[in-house]
């Protein structure tokens, strides 16, 4: 029987190792001729919105503004070369500013202002920020017309660089044309000049309110709403919201007369102070805090919803439930008050 030869010379070993090496070389060289797996930058991808006109003083988030096309994710987006319309650099777009961001989700169930504030924090970020991987844009509320080029100025131009392992591509001359602040909605300010166009706004709901002297149902034109920030010299502003009602002679109406109002759940505010002239709450701004439908907001969650109501016996003894309401939003912190002024006739609170 044959046995293993102890004096094996290395010739077959060399042959075999040469072959193995050759095979490994062949297989590894194959890799080189094959395309590497990479992401794609698609030639059909593009921004679907070229002109961005955020309103200053409030956080605006543009999503779904990029058509993905054949680009594959993950990809990286970057704002490059932001500049004023005349070509000058725009440091206000590249510098970072303290902005208020959400850490935890707002639910509408918070029990105090502190609880809401604990969900937010100050971070230093650029005021006009791009979503790093999505290409979306965010204009933070800290951007003000005091240092931004707001309309009617023609604003800024910027480019976006899209890159991934498949290459890079530039989307040029996107336009940012911020509008001046309108600190509350509904607004009586002109969008581009920032100047008021009327004294007040009209309420959202006026229903079954009978005029005291004319004995007709009051309509939207009979009531004017003033939303205004109260700044008292020497007093540190707190975040509060006050509701007042004025009669035709600008005398205060006792809010308690709106007897069936759900005062405790009127707004997402706390520490209600009710006098015979006004109702005040401690609140967190902006109102509504986020665009989330809660019991304090309209169905889409974009406006806070207040409803004042009272009930009286009308002609013939039927109950009439009168409602006065406003859907509003306030973006700036401070001591705000909303005044409902009855212009042509006072409401009738007594029974017929």
């Amino acid at each position: 029987m044959v046995t293993m030869n102890s004096s094996i010379k290395n010739i077959p070993g060399i042959a075999m190792s040469l072959l193995c090496a050759g095979t490994v070389l062949l297989l590894s060289s194959c890799q080189k001729f094959l395309p590497a797996e990479r992401e794609t930058v698609g030639s059909d991808s593009q921004y679907t919105t070229d002109v961005y006109q955020p309103i200053l003083g409030r956080t605006t988030n543009y999503t779904n503004n990029f058509y993905q096309g054949s680009t594959t994710y993950p990809s990286t987006f970057r704002v490059v070369n932001p500049r004023r319309r005349n070509g000058q650099p725009a440091p206000e777009l590249t510098d970072v500013f303290p902005v208020l961001v959400w850490k935890t989700a707002y639910t509408g169930l918070e029990k105090s202002v502190e609880e809401i504030d604990a969900k937010r924090e100050i971070q230093n970020r650029p005021l006009f920020e791009i979503g790093e991987h999505s290409g979306s844009f965010t204009m933070w509320a800290a951007a003000k017309s005091s240092f931004m080029r707001a309309q009617p100025d023609s604003g800024y131009l910027f480019d976006v660089e899209l890159s991934n392992s498949g290459g890079r591509r530039y989307f040029r001359n996107l336009k940012l044309q911020p509008m001046r602040e309108r600190p509350y909605e509904p607004s009586n300010y002109n969008a581009s000049t920032g100047q008021p166009t009327s004294n007040g706004v009209t309420p959202s709901v006026v229903s079954s309110i009978k005029g005291l002297t004319t004995d007709r149902y009051l309509s939207y034109g009979d009531i004017e709403v003033y939303i205004r920030k109260v700044i008292k010299q020497g007093v540190t502003p707190t975040n509060s919201l006050t509701f007042r009602f004025l009669d035709t002679l600008y005398n205060p109406i006792d809010p308690a007369k709106f007897a069936t109002t759900d005062w405790d759940n009127l707004v997402h505010g706390f520490n209600k102070v009710m006098t015979n002239e006004s109702v005040t709450y401690k609140v967190a701004y902006p109102i509504p805090a986020v665009a989330l439908p809660t019991r304090f907001t309209t169905g889409d969650g974009k406006r806070a919803k207040v409803r004042f109501s009272y009930s009286r016996l009308g002609f013939g003894g039927a109950t009439e439930k009168a409602t006065l309401g406003l859907d509003f939003a306030i973006y700036e912190p401070g001591d705000w008050e909303i005044v409902f002024a009855f212009k042509s006739d006072n409401p009738k609170f007594v029974n017929d």
Partner: protein
């Protein structure tokens, strides 16, 4: 009187040598040499000690056959004293023996030829010994395939050949799994999720059979669902050759791009006719079935989840009360605990019989084989029967003329139940029914269950194939040959669904198809040896091939009654019929040549070249060139290797070559006209603007390089083969959409390429010396393969294709540089234990949300945590990623063959490793929990780690930390959220498995007993098939998945079978 003990070693690198003692008695001396002597004795198989009939006995000088052993293995010859006698038997090592004087009772033991270098391999159109073959191929003896009864012989090849990936992904009797040589060959996936099959070309006794061209069989509706492979009786197979690289397959050119498997049936080789009968009786048992929750428990589950997750208690009560099967629990219709799966699955008893008669010698031999196979499927109303009759004959009156004729016919009969071919969707949907429903009856709602058992269906496939091979050598070294073959496959299918089973609408479906192939090859070959060491050979050939396929279908809807199924009285408006548009006719013409040179069988060099023209190729370049070149160096034969006597043989080989495969059809090349409505009573003909003709259309091309080493060590006790390959499959068809200004909407182009590269290993070890009565052979093989997508049309780097496979419906992604296709999935990172864990958008203060058709749905506790790839806090289609590779990286197997005296124990293992499966059926099962008011089956859920709230009923609070599965019960949100959607990595699992394919115990009956029974051999076998699968995969069977790696319900499970067999020879 004296005895001579003589032992002789035959051959230089012979593994086996003769161990028997030959007793020769001599009375005289050499002076008696010229006298005639009589030698009497028997010849037997050295290993099995059985007597061999038909062993040729010839004198060495002059070489002349003088006798053969009779049916009892005995012989008597009268020769000159001192003559050397040669005992030869096909497949055995010849024995030479010198006799000096008359003797009787001589016992000659011959043993099977184990010398792997002398194995006959078929490559190209020629048979060669392995030491001169340059291509990559592997020979499998038919013996390994004959002890396990299966309907399709390819099932047994799993794990036996390195680089051959067989997945038995349908247990449907008479069906076919998937066969791939060296990785994925194609990348075309149909809209319903089937990968266009890329089975190798089969050449059965010279008849090429393409398993891919009419893949309607067994896959997509219609057809009889019988694979042509199932019509080959395994008992009749002598040898299978698996040709892998381009050099080996080069001469099969026009269809050989996916490899070639050559099946050679048995031939007569014994002067004394051999009658052989074998039978197997076997039991098939269904695999372990899915556990379900039954009866009262199911109802309680449903009511509980409604009470916990409905918007309010009142609404929950009203939902329960308005759902009769929940509230009306005492109604006998709803008061059940039906185990639906029991109604479909069963144990079956099956049998097969095979009888063959063969005999003859070199000049004339014949064989006739008769086969019957019957298998009842483990699903009700399914089954397969095969009847086959085949014969072959060889006539070679002289060295110069030789003629071989093969004729075989087979009939397959199949019952598909309510399914078609591979798919059993009826069973799947019924088995998914609520256990509260009553068992199937005429009055129950669940008709698909009853339909499975009662639909009348009968599918038949008839295959007739014949080949006629003639060779003539007018001058020595010059040989003319012609091979003509004809193959006809015709199938028919009849199905009748009575009206009470299909909502009052009866349906009669009937189809027939016919597929023929004519093949003819003429060749002229030359052989010359110069100076005894320069061996030259070459041939030129010309071949034609014509195929045609024509399927017709008629589907009568609403027949007159359940008894009268036609021909009148049906609803003509709903009735369809005619020839299907998959009909085709293809012509192929090829010519070429081959030249082979070897120096003393040490250095071998082969060149092949062929030109192929196809009727489906564009008119601009109808012919394609397919060259191949290959070489082999038998370094073991070198002088300087002689001192290493531990090396029995050693060789290196390398090859490069190209083949094509016809793809597409004639319409892709030449366009199509439509017959329109009549105009002025004249028929109109218009251009079909669907697909523009592409006159540059090319066949699919495969280019492959191969390097390999083969060694035999320690007297051939250890064989080792290693090969590496690099293959690209180019010009794959892909339809591209055209701009609307072209007038046409689509063009089929040759725009896709894939590349496979990998390595293969095969080792065989004979553990003990041949003299040891205990013999143990262990062989192992494995292959590592990578598939890369190398080219896409229009410079694209990624293409997504939607798939509606009725299961996962997950799109696939073709991405350049990646494995050929991947799933488009959400990446699941776990489950949100608390609502606070959900990321919050800094700018909007809102939680991450899912984009749904009706707006955004914020995530909360118990929801799956999907990766937000683009960071926009919205989960939508932009966050889908290409993930997973369904093609295994490693496949292979182990075989162990133990032999002790008369007993033999064989075991076969196979493995498939490193692939990703999408467990879509599990996803669907879990989705049922979110449909408490829908009647579907519920599975026991306790063993799964799913999210549960800390406080029952508390929706936004905390819950299970590190849960693997999301909350299955929140049925109101589930409609939008679909937490158990199948397109997420939560259901992507490792699909590796190890499988004990079969265990065979063989006993060869003792010779004394055989003599008494007048038999020459008798073999008893016990077999277990599909014994065990070891896998981490959580689904029922990691093999039962589609080629895209999806475990959709609706497959036909693989049965386990136990067989007892007997094989006798007279």
């Amino acid at each position: 009187m004296y005895r001579i003990k003589k032992q002789k070693l035959i051959g230089m690198r012979l593994l086996s040598f003769i161990t028997a003692l030959i007793l020769v008695t001599s009375f005289g001396n050499m002076g008696y040499a010229q006298n005639k002597i009589t030698v009497r004795g028997v010849v037997k198989d050295q290993a099995q000690q059985t007597l061999l009939a038909g062993v040729s006995i010839s004198t060495a000088k002059p070489q002349k056959t003088i006798a053969a052993t009779d049916s009892k293995g005995a012989f008597t010859v009268l020769v000159d004293a001192g003559s050397e006698l040669v005992f030869t038997y096909a497949g055995y090592t010849p024995i030479r023996k010198t006799f000096l004087s008359s003797v009787s009772g001589v016992e000659i033991s011959i043993s099977p030829n184990n010398n792997s270098m002398q194995e006959v391999v078929v490559q190209g159109f020629k048979t060669k010994t392995r030491e001169t073959s340059t291509g990559s191929s592997l020979v499998l003896s038919g013996k390994a395939l004959q002890d396990v009864p299966v309907s399709n012989v390819m099932e047994l090849l799993q794990g036996k050949v390195a680089g051959l990936n067989i997945q038995n992904n349908s247990g449907s009797p008479g069906g076919m799994g998937t066969i791939n040589i060296r990785g994925l060959s194609g990348s075309t996936v149909s809209a319903d999720g089937f990968l266009t099959p890329t089975s190798p070309l089969f050449v059965i006794d010279g008849v090429p059979v393409d398993m891919n061209s009419n893949f309607e069989y067994g896959f997509q509706g219609g057809g009889a669902g019988i694979s042509p492979l199932s019509l080959i009786p395994p008992e009749d197979i002598e040898q299978m050759d698996v040709l892998k690289d381009a050099a080996a397959t080069s001469q099969y050119g026009a269809r050989a791009a996916y490899g070639v498997i050559i099946v050679t049936t048995k031939r007569g080789k014994s002067k004394v006719p051999i009658v052989q009968y074998s039978t197997n009786v076997f039991v098939k048992t269904p695999p372990k079935l899915r556990e379900t929750i039954g009866g009262k428990e199911e109802r309680a589950f449903r009511i509980n989840s409604i009470l916990q997750y409905d918007t309010s208690y009142q609404h929950a009560l009203s939902l329960i009360n308005s759902t009769p099967f929940l509230s009306d629990s005492l109604n006998p219709y709803y008061n059940n605990a039906t185990n639906w799966q029991d109604y479909f699955f069963r144990n079956t008893y099956n049998q097969q019989h095979n009888m063959s008669i063969r005999g003859g010698d070199d000049k004339f031999n014949y064989k006739t084989n008769l086969n019957y196979y019957q298998e009842n499927g483990i699903i009700q109303n399914t089954g397969f029967k095969r009847y086959s009759l085949s014969m072959n004959a060889l006539y070679a009156p002289s060295q110069q003329f030789r003629m071989t004729v093969n004729l075989s016919s087979s009939l397959g009969q199949k019952k598909n139940g309510s399914g078609v071919g591979l798919v059993q969707t009826g069973v799947a949907s019924s088995a998914n029914s609520s256990s509260l429903l009553p068992p199937p009856s005429l009055f129950s709602d669940n008709n698909s269950a009853l339909a499975t058992a009662n639909v009348v269906n009968n599918n038949k496939t008839i295959n007739i194939s014949s080949s006629w091979d003639m060779q003539y050598e007018p001058v020595k070294g010059v040989r003319f040959g012609n091979l003509l073959s004809y193959n006809l496959v015709t199938g028919s299918s009849d199905r009748f669904t009575p009206s009470y089973l299909s909502g009052g609408t009866s349906e009669a479906y009937s189809s027939n198809d016919r597929n023929y192939t004519i093949y003819d090859r003429t060749m002229l070959s030359l052989t010359k040896t110069l100076n005894r060491v320069h061996n030259l050979s070459g041939y030129v050939f010309n071949e034609i091939n014509a195929t045609s396929f024509r399927p017709n279908v008629i589907q009568l809807s609403q027949t007159a009654s359940d008894q009268i199924t036609g021909p009148i009285g049906y609803s003509w408006a709903n009735t369809l019929g005619g020839t299907l548009n998959s009909l085709n006719e293809t012509r192929q013409h090829g010519y070429g040549g081959s030249f082979s040179y070897n120096y003393d069988r040490k250095y071998v060099l082969d060149f092949n070249f062929r030109l192929d023209g196809l009727s489906t190729t564009g008119a601009k370049q109808p012919y394609s060139n397919n060259p191949s070149v290959s070489a082999r160096w038998n370094f073991g034969k070198e002088k300087w290797m002689e001192k290493y006597d531990w090396l029995s043989y050693g060789s290196l080989k390398a090859s490069w070559g190209r083949n094509i495969k016809p793809t597409g059809n004639i319409f892709d090349t030449y366009g199509r006209y439509n017959v329109g409505l009549p105009y002025n009573n004249n028929p109109t003909v218009s251009i079909d603007y669907g697909t523009i003709p592409n006159e540059h259309f090319l066949p699919e091309t495969q280019t492959q390089s191969n390097v390999g080493i083969e060694t035999g060590l320690f007297g051939d006790m250890v064989n080792f083969t290693m090969e590496g390959y690099y293959r690209s499959v180019d010009n794959q068809v892909m339809g591209i959409d055209l701009s609307n200004t072209s007038g046409f909407s689509k063009m089929n182009t040759n725009a896709k390429s894939i590349v496979n590269y990998g390595m293969e290993w095969t080792t065989t070890v004979r553990v003990f010396k041949p003299t040891n009565p205990f013999k143990w052979t262990v062989s192992a093989n494995g292959s590592m393969n990578r598939d890369i997508l190398a080219k896409l049309p229009d410079g694209l780097r990624q293409i997504t294709q939607t798939i509606s496979d009725g299961g996962s419906n997950v799109p696939i992604v073709y991405r350049l540089g990646r494995n050929v296709f991947s799933n488009l999935l959400y990446y699941t990172q776990g489950v949100y234990a608390n609502t606070e864990n959900v990321p919050v958008n800094m700018a909007t203060g809102l939680r991450q949300a899912l984009s749904t058709t009706s707006g955004y749905l914020s995530f909360q506790a118990g929801d799956p945590r999907w990766t937000d790839v683009n960071g926009d806090y919205i989960i939508d289609e932009k966050d889908l990623l290409p993930i997973g590779n369904p093609v295994p990286r490693f496949v292979g197997g182990f075989a162990s063959q133990m032999e002790y005296k008369r007993f033999q124990l064989n075991m076969n293992w196979s493995f498939t490793l490193d692939r990703d499966l999408l467990n879509a059926s599990f996803a669907q099962m879990m989705q049922n929990f979110a449909k408490p008011a829908t009647m579907s089956a519920l599975v026991p859920i306790d063993k799964y780690n799913y999210w549960k709230p800390t406080v029952p009923g508390e929706k936004l609070g905390g819950g299970t930390v590190n849960a693997r599965y999301p909350n299955p019960f929140d049925f109101l949100r589930a409609e939008q959220l679909q937490p158990y959607r199948s397109n997420q990595t939560l259901f992507l699992e490792d699909g590796s498995y190890w499988k004990l394919n079969n265990v065979v115990l063989i006993y060869n009956v003792d010779r004394k007993m055989l003599t008494r029974l007048h038999m020459t051999s008798c073999k008893l076998t016990l077999t277990a098939n599909n014994v065990l699968t070891i896998s981490k995969y959580t689904g029922p069977d990691p093999e039962m998945v589609t080629q895209l790696g999806r475990d959709n319900s609706g497959g036909y499970p693989n049965a386990r079978s136990y067989a007892a067999g007997i094989n006798v020879q007279f």
